[in-house]
Symmetry: C2
Subunit: 97 residues, 2 copies
């Protein structure tokens, strides 16, 4: 959760989410976001450690993908227990909207 607390990291993550299942190579992220390679690498590492992102080697490039399972778990965690008094139907519907 704290992995997404950093604006840069949130940007990286959302970019990957948008990229979908094809993912993006680190270099692609670098171009798109204009972040120095080493900084980008640090952030990716954190996202990977947090389980929000996975990497797969494809020849000389590393493909990064958002881990949708982890994201849904995160969303579930946030929405969890908020409906004890039955007053947050809006939260549920908003989540699917």
């Amino acid at each position: 959760m704290e992995s997404l607390g950093n604006p840069t990291r949130l940007r990286i993550y959302r970019t990957l989410v948008r990229a979908g299942f094809d993912g993006l190579p680190v270099g692609g992220l670098q171009q798109r976001l204009e972040i120095p390679a080493s900084t980008l690498s640090h952030h990716c590492r954190k996202l990977i450690d947090a389980g929000l992102v996975t990497q797969e080697r494809n020849g000389t490039t590393l493909i990064c993908r958002a881990n949708y399972k982890a994201m849904s778990a995160l969303i579930g965690y946030l929405a969890d227990e908020c409906c004890a008094d039955g007053r947050c139907e809006d939260v549920e519907t908003a989540a699917v909207a």
Copy 2:
């Protein structure tokens, strides 16, 4: 979003979410979480600034409440754009589960 990046703050927020619409006075949080008053106050302030928590005075105590609207917006933001390629039905269903 970064307001929830801090573990202590996340704990505070979840406690308030669980407390529901009745909310909790600052002192109640303090007892429950065993955090020094000043530290707690700082964190509450940040949550309030972020719009995730609201406060209302009730005599000599301040009642804190989780702002469900903000939470649903946050969830929506996370879930947003993740379904461009139509492959994350699981995310949607998980959110409501």
